[in-house]
């Protein structure tokens, strides 16, 4: 026969599991809601977009930006990076306050026209994703000193990181632009920053 004690112990176990699970879920949610700390201010810069428009540090203001360094003729990691960037670009099509920035590390080959073709090939049809260029020395300095990225042997030796920049122009976190798990964390952080940006407006 089932005794009362059995029923009580089963119910207590369920209550105990419920309380434990609530605690873990709360802790995990809190931990996932923490915004990454400010690493440094983005450096001042002046670049030109594939539309021929100027793009400066001021263009970062009041927007969340995801930035990377690529070049269009790159055989290695760039296609994977641009592929991941394109996925994000498509997923956030309803969020104009999130912009994507790809800076070429091969400005000699990547003319404005080439960047425009590359943008079209990636399905870019609005101003949320910009492809930028400047002369080589400037880009090199921007990548290494400005964004603290590996830039030893450009163009081939560029970094595969995505940089997340908040609405005040602060660098907040780096992500591996070729890695699914890293991109998934970036997605979570983008959501947090977008929510924050909206609540502050």
């Amino acid at each position: 026969m089932i005794k009362k004690i059995h029923l009580v112990s089963v119910l207590s176990l369920v209550v105990f599991l419920g309380i434990g699970a609530t605690w873990v879920i709360t802790k995990a949610t809190q931990a996932s809601q923490v915004l990454p700390a400010v690493i440094k201010q983005a450096p001042p810069f002046s670049l030109v977009s594939h539309h021929g428009e100027p793009f400066t540090k001021d263009s970062l203001r009041n927007k969340i930006s995801v930035l990377d360094f690529i070049f269009t003729s790159c055989p290695g990691p760039c296609p994977i990076m641009s592929n991941n960037m394109r996925t994000l670009y498509n997923q956030y099509k309803l969020h104009p306050d999130l912009q994507f920035i790809s800076i070429t590390v091969d400005p000699e080959y990547d003319s404005q026209e080439v960047l425009k073709i590359y943008a079209d090939a990636n399905g870019v049809n609005d101003k949320r994703w910009k492809f930028l260029r400047a002369d080589m020395e400037k880009v090199k300095k921007l990548s290494s000193d400005g964004f603290l990225l590996m830039s030893d042997n450009l163009p081939a030796g560029h970094s595969v990181k995505f940089v997340l920049i908040d609405g005040d122009g602060n660098i907040r976190q780096y992500y591996n632009g070729t890695d699914k798990a890293s991109i998934s964390i970036l997605r979570n952080h983008i959501n947090l920053f977008l929510k924050k940006l909206r609540s502050s407006v």
Partner: protein, 309 residues
Amino acid sequence: MKKYFQFSVISIVFTYLLIFIGGLVRVSGAGMGCPDWPKCFDRWIPPTNLEQLPDYIDPEKFNLVLAWVEYLNRLFGALVGLIILVTCVYGLLYFKNHKRVTFSITLALFITFVEGWLGSKLVDTVLDPVTITLHLLLALIIIGLIIYSSIQSYYIIEGNFEKDSVYPGHIKYIILGIMVCVVVEIIIGTEIRGGLDISRKENPLIEGVILLKMLGPFKYIHTILGVILLGLVFYLRKIIQNIKLFPSDYMIYAVNFMLIIICIQIVLGESLVFFDVKPLVQLFHMWFSSLLLGLSIVQYTFWKISNSV
């Protein structure tokens, strides 16, 4: 022999706890808490700060809480694996001539190893939805096999507790029907859950309940099948309660308990649709469904024993 039965019961309880913890990892988003496997950030004890991270792992992946949630799941998984191993050894020692006991527990042990390997694949594939479902289904097969083996051993030790029962032949099909319904419900449930995840990625910053509304007809089938399940169990209860069949107390308990859980399941499921997609409710909804499957296996085994000489 009794030792085997005791260990098999411990195995069942711990496997159910592990299914709960696995679900907890999923709802708390800690599945990628450790980006490598079996170690966590290349350490047997997960790191407590960024300095302890190896060079080749990107630091943005480190989240102390998520790493420990995932790692405790792995440790508990290893413990359950050991318990099932010990149970299997006892089974082979004491029930050498009882294939129904030894075959199922040995198979359970083998699938447990596969399950561990599949856990590593989950990390490799960054939580591929199909692999997640497979991971749950394997856990359910393991628990089913252990339950079957455990009851068979009890029957050998204590004698046939169903010897007086005269269940009509067609209840086998009702029980199997319930079992199939539960499995299909679980698969559709994981599809809804996976669809919700994809939908959340495609539509960031939109509430879970709205996303749920955007999902396809799966969710209606899930509800309809749930109601059919309720009807089937009611019907089974009606047959079983006929005193002329001399049903065992165990069978009556199993059916009543199932009925209670299905009612709770319907309430939980509808609360997910009408109120909010709360992680705790999702977790219990999944866990109770695994209990339902266990109970249908219990009923099936009782029926089988009632037909034994």
